[in-house]
């Protein structure tokens, strides 16, 4: 068996374990719905601002965590309804995280083996971009779980789901056997530029997930504020829309800085390989569009009337453009970046 074949077996194993993790995360979400339904309205309403009571075993929450930690504001009418419902320890969530870690290890092994088999970095064609990209998505997720003061494990359904789908597409549609690098790709910038791009996609993916949940939460909060009743939903156990927005922002700005670097490193590489640092090649155009959309997102967060829901939509559009750039632009648009290997 060649190293590449072992790598593929590891990919399939990782996918199987991701699937288990995905199911476990989903069960957890279902349990959250049940838990929030069990909490009486009175209980919820009396909860003080921002008490995210023990949303998970790993969190050492201080009271302000759920409220906009950076803002000075007194309790507001809406806050009671938006504060989180207590949601105790969840064994199934622990299983889910453990499975994610195991899947991540297999995934890491698969990627490293692919690199050894190819005798170069494992990101030089679509299959390898997808393999490494999804690995980074999971890595960013796990690292953020480790360092974040807010319990973000509820994002696991989205993250493992996304990784699973992308890995599935990659193995079925993008797979190519190990081939040597064409001269245009033989450069240190392949190592730097592509890796940084991939890492920033990892952050954008997480930011996207947070923004989606933020929008759902904002809708629920709007309903709850008027209807005076907390709808039975897993959302009740999650941070407030404002808290989610702040988290999404922090994740997205890291992605944005990395993306800025990607764009510049790409320009330097283009200068070396093609003799000009910028030429509005299709891939360059989309990298630029994504950059401008996220710059717009950051601005929107500081523009009256655009904070909250509207800026979240921009983050969602931004990540959609990232996915579009990776799939449709790579496969169907004509340009100098013809490296899909397909």
């Amino acid at each position: 068996m060649t190293l590449d074949e072992i790598s593929i077996i590891a990919v399939y194993s990782a996918m199987a374990v991701y699937a288990v993790a995905f199911i476990a995360y989903s069960i957890d979400l279902a349990k959250r719905s049940a838990a929030s339904g069990a909490t009486t309205v009175a209980e919820t309403a009396s909860e003080p601002v921002g008490v995210l009571a023990g949303a998970g075993a790993t969190t050492a929450t201080t009271p302000t965590k759920a409220g906009g930690a950076t803002s000075v504001r007194p309790p507001q009418a809406g806050d009671a309804a938006t504060s989180a419902v207590a949601y105790g320890r969840s064994p199934v969530l622990r299983v889910a995280v453990a499975m994610t870690v195991i899947a991540w290890l297999l995934h890491l092994g698969a990627t490293v083996l692919r690199g050894i088999a190819a005798e170069r970095v494992p990101w030089a064609n679509m299959y390898e971009f997808a393999l490494t990209g999804t690995l980074v998505v999971t890595t960013v997720f796990l690292v953020v779980l480790l360092i974040s003061k807010t319990d973000l494990r509820f994002l696991g359904t989205f993250i493992t789901g996304l990784v699973l789908v992308l890995l599935g597409i990659a193995t079925v549609n993008f797979y190519v056997s190990v081939v040597p690098l064409p001269p245009a790709l033989q450069s240190v910038w392949l190592v730097i530029h592509v890796f940084v791009a991939t890492t920033s996609v990892g952050f954008f993916a997480l930011g996207f997930a947070l923004s989606v949940v933020q929008l759902m939460q904002a809708r629920r909060e709007a309903v709850a504020a008027t209807a005076d009743a907390v709808k039975k939903s897993f959302l009740a156990t999650l941070p407030t829309a404002a808290a989610l927005e702040n988290l999404a922002y922090r994740v997205n700005i890291v992605g944005f800085i990395l993306w800025t670097f990607t764009l510049m490193a790409g320009a330097i590489w283009a200068e070396k390989a093609w003799g000009r640092y910028w030429g509005w090649d299709t891939k360059e155009v989309w990298t630029f569009i994504i950059w401008v959309v996220y710059a717009g997102y950051i601005h929107a967060r500081a523009t009256r009337g655009w904070r909250g829901t509207r800026s979240a939509w921009l983050a969602i559009i931004g990540f959609s453009a990232v996915l579009f750039n990776f799939t449709v632009v790579n496969l169907f648009f004509k340009g100098l970046h013809a490296y899909s290997g397909l």
Partner: protein
């Protein structure tokens, strides 16, 4: 778990106090529709109001608006956050069509093809400058407006920031407990209480110590003693705004560098066959694009000779047989500095005499010799054939204007490793020279080059010419391997496909056909500047997004029961997830751990 005093319901009115702590001259200047979230979620959401404050909103309704007011109103609109955002989003949208339709700048052949495929649609699109999106009027209008807005935004902010850098931190608010990050420690538990006898002296010592500690960790500090309560006010993170201003200014820098610097540069293309050379003068380029302000006396003369072009193709990996592995152009440069040998590779351009030389393409240049019926050479040259596919099936054109009974033109196909498709057509199955075959379709008649109209060397205009071989003529195309020659039709003469290695073994063709390299030669004085601004952009961005701007206060407050407590409070200016931890840590270090 819930232990901080802040979890008690705070009295209404905290907001006003917090606001007074916020609004001071040291704050960065912002457009009036700026929102950092500190007004609470309900502030201004969906108000749809114009960006200006009361003044300009009133001005809108006023029927008598003088030109100055209009200008001021327009300017304030243009430099508002909302306009900046709108223009950014417009810019993103406007960039899209350029990726859907081929662009003249990056894909001129694609544009020609597009016109051929969509004869009705293409002229309409062209009317909207869809094939020149990034230099179009509408795209330029968007980014120029954006940059005017940007400049209008950063100039007053920079002025304000320079003043703020010299300003004192704001007065300590009366009631620190109303701020979001707040904690307290009893004075009695500090060392100050032990070392000094009296309470006021201990309080004074504690505040002095706090001021020193804050200063040491990068805060600018100011002592304020309010009604007998000594306090220190501290602020840090001015770099956040500095970074933001550097970032935005550097954006302008990039635009200016690209716009101006590009004008002084040039780019030229030149194809060179092995053994031949080229001198860096205007006339020597196959094509040349000068910048707007370029003048050709700036070209430093030097001679570049292509000694060898080495191409390496995969021979072992069955999944990638024939894939290009490496191209190396070995060149000699002669100039003022003497003579030197260099290598140019795909990712390794050559920087010499102020120009950058890039290896952008390569292929075969079969040497073709034509003789008249007497055997005298009327034409001999190595003709670059343009590659058509990965296995280097290549097309080239030979024009013989003089010396024969008629002018002849030949359209040639070159197959480095010839094989035959099931349809009978020839193709190349490997990019290297294993079984090289050249086929020529011969035309006779008027080449159309005598009138002086420029003709591409890669194209043969066959109008007015008669096809003598290949196609429907019934005569087989001329077909040659290196070293072979044959008669031209109609007794015109002979044509030979010369081999570069006449002494090689009969089945060794590996070096029999010379190769050519196509070089791009550039000079772009803006590049260095763009790089400098790019570094400033990244640096400014990181400062602006990661440096927390925060205020911190420490105050010794006497309680009604006669004891003194030390109050610690912090206020974030912008996104600052670490604020509370910072206040708590500072209090722990200064006033002792909370018991």
């Amino acid at each position: 778990m819930v232990s901080s005093p802040r979890s008690e319901a705070r009295p209404e009115g905290g907001r006003a106090d917090a606001a007074s702590a916020r609004d001071t001259g040291v704050d960065p200047l912002r457009p009036s529709d700026y929102d950092d979230g500190s007004r609470g979620p309900d502030a201004g959401d969906g108000d749809g109001a114009v960006a200006g404050e009361g003044g300009s909103a009133a001005a809108v309704n006023s029927p008598k608006l003088g030109p100055v007011e209009w200008l001021r109103f327009g300017w304030r609109q243009l430099t508002s956050m909302r306009t900046a955002l709108l223009l950014l989003l417009l810019l993103a949208i406007a960039a899209v069509p350029g990726s859907l339709v081929p662009q003249r700048s990056s894909d001129p052949n694609g544009v020609v093809q597009y016109f051929a495929d969509n004869p009705d649609l293409a002229p309409v699109l062209d009317g909207f400058q869809m094939f020149d999106v990034y230099t179009s009027v509408w795209f330029s209008a968007i980014y120029l407006l954006l940059f005017i807005s940007l400049i209008g935004c950063i100039v007053p902010r920079t002025k304000h920031h320079l003043e703020a850098l010299r300003a004192r931190p704001p007065k300590t608010p009366a009631r620190l407990s109303r701020l979001s990050a707040f904690t307290e420690r009893p004075l009695a538990s500090t060392d100050d209480a032990v070392s000094t006898g009296s309470t006021p002296a201990a309080a004074e010592a504690a505040i002095e110590r706090a001021a020193a500690a804050l200063k040491k960790s990068g805060y600018r500090v100011e002592r304020y003693d309010l009604r007998g309560a000594p306090s220190v006010s501290a602020e840090r993170g001015y770099l956040r705004e500095t970074g933001n201003l550097i970032f935005h200014t550097a954006l302008v820098g990039v635009l200016v560098a690209v716009a101006l610097g590009g004008g002084f540069g040039f780019s030229g293309q030149r194809v060179i066959v092995e053994g031949q050379s080229f001198v860096n003068t205007l006339a020597a380029y196959d094509s040349f694009n000068p910048g707007r302000f370029f003048d050709d006396t700036r070209l430093t003369p030097y001679r570049l000779t292509l000694d060898e072009l080495e191409a390496v193709y995969e021979t072992e990996n069955r999944d990638a047989l024939g894939q290009a592995i490496d191209f190396t152009a070995r060149v000699t440069i002669e100039g003022e500095g003497g003579e030197a040998s260099h290598e140019v590779k795909v990712n390794e351009p050559l920087y010499e005499y102020g120009t950058d030389v890039y290896l952008l393409g390569n292929g075969y240049a079969p040497t073709i010799t034509v003789r008249d019926p007497d055997g005298d050479i009327v034409f001999t040259d190595s003709i670059p054939f343009l590659p058509q596919d990965a296995n280097l099936t290549s097309i080239g054109v030979v024009k013989v204007p003089d010396g024969l009974a008629e002018q002849i033109g030949m359209v040639g196909f070159f197959y480095p490793t010839q094989s035959t498709l099931s349809s009978g057509a020839y193709t190349s199955s490997y990019p290297d020279l294993v079984y090289p075959v050249l086929t020529l379709n011969v035309y006779s008649g008027d080449l159309g080059i005598n009138e002086g109209t420029p003709r591409s060397v890669y194209q043969l205009d066959t109008t007015g010419m008669e096809q003598l071989t290949g196609g429907d003529t019934g005569v087989d195309s001329v077909e040659l391997m290196p070293g072979e020659s044959t008669e031209l039709p109609n007794g015109l003469g002979t044509v030979e496909f010369e081999t570069a290695t006449p002494d090689a073994a009969a089945d060794d063709f590996s070096q029999s056909v010379p190769r050519f390299a196509s070089f791009d030669v550039h000079h772009d004085p803006s590049q260095g500047w763009v790089l400098v601004f790019a570094v400033l952009i990244i640096g400014g961005l990181m400062l602006s997004l990661f440096v927390p701007r925060r205020r911190m206060w420490v105050k010794a407050v006497s309680k009604p029961d006669g004891t003194v407590v030390l109050e610690y409070a912090g206020l974030a200016r912008g996104d600052d997830p670490g604020l509370e931890r910072a206040v708590e840590d500072f209090a722990d270090a200064h006033g002792g751990k909370r018991s």
